[in-house]
């Protein structure tokens, strides 16, 4: 497949993207790097601080706690959303009017602004005016996610599952409909059970889209800010303070630019590193080369 001609003139096509992204990414990133190695006593006077901020951030319990919380959160939502998304995608109809109905309704939460998602669940979970909180209260369960860290976690996870599982569903579904009918026919002839069809046909064929789903869900859950901010504000206490919330508190709330910048860089590097690990593990585990797309008659 690798027979593309070599031509450096192609750079002209990439140039607009390069300039745009460089301005949007490199200059701000330089600012961050700049802050991360300096100290300020106000009045725009800066002093070289070396790696001081990095050491401070890495050694602070606050950062480690946020990091652990965020990793736990990402792990939990991946464990729920990926299997659930696969299950829903498997059960979806393959043709007819219901496909469109399902797709449109399922995609709906994906296009709601993130703070509105937070608001929806804020209202929904309240014991006085929300359906969920009210119903639980009626059942004798005291539901107040402003007081209980466990309940705060439950509602945030529920919200995230509500918000993002559809992305996994849509991706898996697109992978499933691309499997030629002959595979299912051959499996029936070979006497394969439903489970074996899933294990040896559907799962391998979904591998590529699953990789995308896991990467996107990991990245976005690791960067989550708006929804928990609206819903719990990081509380009760600091129990739902994820990395982004912590970072914004440090940078804008306390205006500690140095530590905030150092934290940003560490944060960014962690996302990059973990994404790379996911990518490498998943591509090495299964088939390596991206598959030649098969055409069905």
């Amino acid at each position: 497949m690798n027979n593309k001609p070599f031509d450096n003139k192609a750079w002209f096509f990439v140039l607009p993207v390069f300039i745009l992204v460089a301005i949007s990414a490199v200059i701000p990133l330089m600012t961050v790097v700049n802050y991360s190695v300096q100290d300020s006593f106000g009045n725009n006077q800066f002093f070289w601080a070396g790696t001081e901020w990095f050491t401070e951030v890495l050694n602070s319990d606050r950062f480690r706690d946020s990091l652990v919380r965020n990793l736990t959160f990402s792990a939990i939502i991946l464990c729920i959303e990926i299997p659930l998304g696969i299950a829903v995608a498997l059960a979806m109809p393959r043709k007819g009017i219901w496909v469109s109905v399902c797709l449109v309704l399922m995609a709906l939460p994906l296009l709601i602004p993130w703070n509105v998602v937070g608001t929806i669940w804020l209202i929904f979970g309240r014991a006085d005016i929300g359906l969920l909180g009210f119903t639980l209260a009626k059942m004798g369960i005291v539901f107040n996610y402003g007081q209980s860290w466990l309940q705060a976690w439950i509602i945030i996870i529920l919200m995230d599952v509500w918000h993002w599982t559809s992305l996994v569903v849509l991706l898996c579904y697109s992978g499933l409909v691309a499997i030629p009918e002959a595979y299912y026919q051959a499996a029936r002839i070979d006497g394969a059970s439903r489970w074996k069809v899933f294990r040896y046909i559907q799962l391998p064929k979904m591998q590529r889209v699953l990789l995308i789903a896991i990467l996107l869900r990991f990245m976005d859950s690791f960067m989550i800010y708006t929804e928990p901010f609206v819903l719990t504000g990081g509380g009760p206490g600091n129990t739902t303070t994820f990395l982004s919330i912590d970072l914004v508190k440090t940078a804008i709330g306390q205006f500690d630019l140095g530590p905030a910048a150092a934290m940003s860089l560490i944060y960014f590097l962690i996302v990059l590193l973990l994404s790379w690990v996911f990518y490498t593990v998943m591509t090495n585990y299964g088939m390596d080369a991206p598959e030649k797309r098969e055409v069905e008659s």
Binding site: V14, P28, A91, M106
Partner: protein
């Protein structure tokens, strides 16, 4: 092939439809609750608990449509989202073409570097963005938000478009040149129609991620270009939260997304499947 008993394991269960149905019900209940509340008066919301509005009222919506700071929020959001979508797709098209058709110095690194920007936490960029756009005097303009959102939308658009373009055989390009088409003419007249669905999918995802993002949009705006999502915090006033208006505002933010989904429904599922990792 057109076999009657199609589908993987369609024999497995007659109750298969239950899974998506239950899932959709789970998705719809909170949305229903929001709409339900937006159609109630504040008194009814606070004093009584009902599954549907007893006194149906559109007053909350009238508040929004009667107040320019409210409805301008929608206009602002839509302006910068559309600007972002147009910019992102326009610059991504030639770049994706280059990635799908040529090898060049640093192509792989460039592609990877682009994708890393999709992994950049917005929280990391919020403050530096503020300083950057302040320096250019662009704070509180639509273009500032549109450009800032390009950070994660351009890489995504390049990624999706590259996948679609790689699905178009290169022989088509060659045939067009032999037939005497100039490059711009070939790109506009032949190539673009071939990847039309890819452009639709890319535009959909750009629209989606720009429409739902709040952190950066809020940081870069003050009043003139403030997005609707940020204005919603206004409803918390001295007299407490105006739940009805907040619910109505929330309900209205769902509509543009719903319209977009409806138009691209046949392409959504294909979007990422054709994108290459």
């Amino acid at each position: 092939m057109n076999t009657a008993q199609a589908g993987g394991g369609s024999r497995s269960s007659r109750f298969k439809w239950l899974v998506p149905t239950l899932y959709i019900v789970f998705l719809m209940i909170p949305i229903y609750w929001l709409i339900n509340m937006s159609l109630k008066t504040n008194t009814e919301i606070v004093t009584g608990f009902s599954l549907w509005p007893n006194n149906l009222t559109f007053d909350n919506y009238k508040v929004i449509f009667g107040d320019p700071t409210w409805y301008n929020g929608y206009i602002n959001s839509i302006i910068y989202v559309v600007m972002n979508t147009v910019i992102a797709v326009a610059v991504a098209l030639p770049a994706a073409y280059a990635f799908s058709r040529y090898r060049f110095l640093g192509d792989k690194h460039m592609f990877f570097w682009l994708l890393t920007n999709r992994m950049a936490p917005p929280a990391v960029f919020a403050l530096p963005f503020f300083q950057l756009y302040s320096a250019f005097g662009l704070i509180d303009t639509h273009i500032a938000v549109a450009l800032a959102h390009c950070l994660f939308n351009v890489p995504l658009a390049v990624w999706i478009l590259e996948g679609f373009m790689s699905g178009v055989p290169r022989e088509i390009d060659e045939t067009a040149y032999i037939d005497g088409y100039s490059f711009p003419k070939f790109f506009g007249k032949i190539f673009m129609p071939l990847i039309a669905s890819g452009i639709g999918v890319a535009a959909f995802f750009c629209f989606m991620f720009s429409w739902v993002e709040l952190l950066i949009a809020r940081t870069l705006t003050v009043t003139e270009a403030k997005p609707i999502a940020a204005i919603m915090t206004r409803t918390i006033s001295a007299t407490g939260v105006d739940w009805g208006v907040q619910a109505a505002a929330g309900a209205l933010t769902i509509i543009p997304g719903a319209l977009v989904i409806y138009f691209v429904r046949n392409y959504i599922a294909k979007g990422f499947a054709l994108g290459r990792v």
